[in-house]
Every structure is written in C-alpha cells, then in structure tokens.
Amino acid sequence: MGISVEGAAKRFGDFQALNDVSIDVPNGSLTALLGPSGSGKSTLLRAIAGLEVLDAGRVLIDGEDVSGKPTQKREVGFVFQHYAAFKHMTVFENVGFGLKIRKWDKAKISARVHGLLSLVQLDGLADRYPSQLSGGQRQRMALARALAVEPQVLLLDEPFGALDAKVRKDLRTWLRRLHDETGVTTIFVTHDQEEAMDVAGQLVVMNEGRVEQSGTADDLYEQPANEFVMSFVGEVNRLGEHFVRPHDMTVLLDPDERSEEAMVRRIVALGFEVRVEFILADGTEVWAQLTRAELQKLELRDGQIVHLRPGQIKSFSGPSSSDGHGASTPRDLPEGGDAEVSAAA
C-alpha cells in the first residue's frame, strides 16, 4: 500500500519538528528517511503510525486519509529503536500479542507464531523472556511481532541504532531480504547514510523539519539538490563556494594549469583505501581518497608539498540549488570536467 504525507507540520513547544513536509512512498517500496538527529524523521514516521498527532497536514495510506484514525486501527507494523519488548511475556506471547487481540484461536496463533519465529531465525527460543535474548534477537522478535498482524505497511524507527556494528550489518542484509520476500511497503528511519544506501531503494533526506531531497541513492549522490544533501550523503571537501568529493581529488607531484599547491598533513591507511589529509596555502583543510597502489606510486610522506587537481566540482547558489559547472570561482580554481579521472573511481 502506498503512503503519502501532505503538508505535515508538528511543533513541540518552541521546536518545529516538521515544517510543511510532503512525501510519497510507492507501494511495495523500501524507503529510508535519512537525516541528522532533530531533523524530524522520527516524528514523521510516528505521525504515519498515529503515535504523534499532526498540527496540520494529512496522512494517506493506500489513498485513504487516516489522519483521524487512532493507531490501533491503522494496521501499521512499528519497530522501535529500543525494541519495546513486552518484558513480562515470553517470545511466543510477544509475537502472538496482536493475534490474541484479534481473538484468533489458539491453534492458529501457534501455527503463525512458529512460522514467523522461523522466518526471523528464533526457532527454539519461543519460551524465553526478552531479558534472556541478545539485542539482535530482541529486535528480530520485535519485527516478527510487527509482521504477525500482516500490516499494510512496516515502519522502523532507527531499528539497528542500539546494536553493535557487526550485528547491525547482518540485520541490514536480512531486512532487505525480508522485504524482498514479504513485499510489504516499508519505511525506515536512520541517521546513517551508509545504512540508508545499503538497505533502501528510495531515500528521503530530511533536515530541520523539511525534506531536502528524495530519490534513489544514485540520484542523491550524483545530483545533490543542495549543499546539505551533498555533504550528508557521501563525503565532501569544501573549497570556497565549491564542493568536491574526496575521490575526485587528483594528487600530482608537478603542478599543472588547474592544480593548487597543498601540503600533506597526515596519511591514514584504512585497508584498501587510503585517506590523505592536506592543508592548502590559505589554510583550508581537505582530504583525498586514494587506493593503496596510487599511494605507493606517489610515495607521499608527511609534510611533502604536492599539487591537487579537483575533478567534478559542484556549487550551490542559495538553498534552492543547481549544478555548479561553469561558475567562476573566487579562488580561481578551474572547473572540473566529466573527463577528469578521479583517484579512486
């Protein structure tokens, strides 16, 4: 079922959590709401579930205006960051809760709960209490509980935020597969751009209660609508009014007509990729992403003077922005072209 939000506004005291937000989530998609904390992404998700009442605007699920409906009638599955497990119930009772409320008979509940537990790989833990599970297991139980009632939409609020890095990575892959299997329209909230790009097909980038841009991961990375999106989705160097990706920085030992002098400050090896930090003549700090092979070829060392040639540069004029090719630069940096070979491309 598709979800639309139109002109949503919500204020908590002096804080404007949502400011005229509209989004469209197509049926069957897996969409990420991405933004820093305080950007309004969780409030938007909770408003879709009916856990927050909007000051203005409306929520449509499958074309129907549900703004006046209480949460329990919206048929949404919701997964909380801190699991919200019913601590006094076993795993079985947690997952079967929604079915018991719907007055299913015992045999049917048992069959469905055991089916879901095997889907989330918790077979054999049905009689445990939440306190006897690990964080990852609790979150999978919470997912099974949300899926048990066959919701029209599945909403996840920073579902992996409280888990350690390894478990988080496993659960991401697993969530994507689960979505492929069930096909339930899913929205999940995250502040981690890598997680959003890894899991979701569609991304909605939010900041200060507004939607900055929505689209696929490629759209956002290649065609960021503004400075915020460019710096939030992927890494970025700022050169005056211009922005350039670190992998679009070419390091030269000899100057050419489009390069600028820079000093190597620090070389950080991160496995295959190497992060080299520079300082420009005017004090600006930038960094370049190189491969190990490139670094070895250049034989860089700390304190060395080299020349940097930025590849694709972008600039944005004001909040409503455009691609900045061709703009003249205050620092006389030459504009980049598509023919530039980036260091780590």
Binding site: A49, G50, L51, P70, T71, Q72, K73, R74, E75, V76, G77, F78, F80, H82, A84, A85, F86, K87, H88, M89, F97, G98, I101, R102, A142, R145, A146, A148, V149
Partner: protein, 265 residues
C-alpha cells in the same frame, strides 16, 4: 582492623534494632503467654475481641481495594497525562503523610458532626457517618491514601511509554493496553503499595479513634480494643489482642519483603 570496624558497626546496628524494635515485640509475646495460653485466648475469643478483629479486617477489605483503584488511576494521570495542575495533585496526595492522624480525625468530626457541613444533610437522609462504620472507613481511606500512588508512580516512569505504543500499533485499544501491558509491567509496584496500605489500615489508631466513638462491640477496631483493655487493667486481653495485631502486621510485612525480592529479581 577493617574487619574489626565492620563487626563493631554491625553489632552497633543490630543492638540498636534489638533494643528499639525487637525488645518491645518480645516483651509482648512473653507477657501474653506468661500464664499459659488460656487468658490471651479467652481475651481474643471474647465477643468484643472477635468483633474488633472482624471490624479491622472489614476496614482493610473496603479501604485497600478503593485506594488501590484510586492510586493506580491517579498515578497514570500524574505520569501519563502531564498537565499544569499535576503538581498540585501530587502535593495534595502527600497530605495524609504530613498531617497527624488525630488532626485528620478531628477534621472529619467537624465535617460530618451534627454541626458540620455535611452532617445535618446526611442525618436527614438517614445516613450516620460519625460513631459508625462509614466514618471509620473514611478515616482509614484518608490515612492510607498515598501508598499505592507513591509506589506506582516511579515504576510507571521507569517502564516508559514504548511498550504501550507498541501495543497500540498491534491493534490494542486503551483498555486492552492497560490490562495486558501496563498493569503486568507495574504489578510489583502496585502490590508493594497494597501491602503498605494494608499495614497502615490495620494499625491506624488516631483518626479512627476520634470518629468511631470507641463503642465496644460496635465501633472498636483491634488497635482501639487493645487500648481499651489496657486502660481497664486487663493485661492478658490487651497483650493477646496485641499479639494478633502484631501477627497480622508481621504477615503483611513478610509479604512485602517477598514481593520486594521478586521485584529485584
């Protein structure tokens, strides 16, 4: 050196408790059974003694359920529905802790007495509050009102609202959420409050003594009976009833400790 200090402290602490708390209790038990089981048994199986016991249990049976329902509802209001007036409600609920029971008894006396605000009207309707069970129930409810609220509020704050929100997304309405999620989550806090309320109602003397008129066999609870036997130099009777009262109180306190253990587990 360290261990000597620790033993010293422990002996001091236990000695203090033994002198102030255990010694009186032991004395009562000793005095009661000094001349065998006969006299105390006779005292508490006398018609006035049995009536006093029944009346005390009746107070518990009425005041405790009422204060439990009120206490849980009030705690939900204070924690889950933050409103400007809540601070005032919170302060008013503590009044019975702050005011002496005798003052509470007197205020009820003034309110429901022949010249009181409500007294004449109720008397016309044929309802007798003072010197009868309704007045004693009112006094018992008043003095034991804060316990369930005070024990439930922190537990409600601790469990947060996420479990309740999860229940609503799973289709539960407010009533179902309360019975299936909220109440089971706060049950040990509520139970602890119920035990304290029971102990307070059983032991209440001051307020009840004023509104009851202390009519033997009619408006005398167990603590009032003990006091009257003592005044009448019937030591065996006073001690016998005291032992029953002490056993009831010890039973509730024991129940409290069992509950506390479960809560910590």
């Amino acid at each position: 050196m360290k261990s000597a200090n620790r033993w010293g402290l422990r002996t001091l602490g236990l000695g203090y408790l033994a002198l102030l708390l255990l010694a009186p209790l032991v004395t009562i038990f000793y005095k009661t059974f000094e001349h065998g089981l006969g006299p105390p048994l006779e005292a508490i199986t006398s018609s006035d003694g049995l009536h006093a016991l029944k009346l005390s249990l009746l107070m518990v049976a009425i005041a405790v359920p009422l204060n439990t329902v009120f206490g849980v509802g009030c705690a939900l209001l204070l924690v889950r529905h933050r409103r400007p007036g809540n601070a005032l409600i919170d302060a008013v609920i503590n009044l019975p802790f702050a005011i002496s029971p005798v003052v509470i008894g007197l205020s009820l006396f003034l309110l429901y007495g022949a010249q009181g605000w409500f007294g004449p009207g109720l008397a016309e309707a044929g309802i007798k509050v003072l010197f009868s069970v309704p007045g004693m129930v009112l006094a018992s409810i008043f003095v034991s009102l804060p316990f369930v609220v005070r024990e439930t509020v922190p537990v409600l704050q601790e469990i947060g609202t996420e479990q309740e929100q999860a229940a609503s997304t799973l289709g539960a309405n407010a009533w179902q959420t309360f019975w299936r999620v909220t109440l089971p989550a706060i049950r040990w806090g509520v139970a602890y409050g119920v035990v304290l309320t029971t102990a307070r109602v059983l032991g209440e003397f001051g307020a009840v003594s004023i509104v009851s008129g202390q009519i033997s066999g009619e408006t005398e609870t167990l603590p009032l009976y003990v006091e009257k036997q003592f005044q009448n130099f019937n030591q065996a009777g006073a001690f016998g009833a005291s032992v029953v009262l002490a056993m009831l109180a010890l039973g509730t306190l024991l129940a409290m400790n069992v509950l506390k253990g479960k809560e910590d587990a």
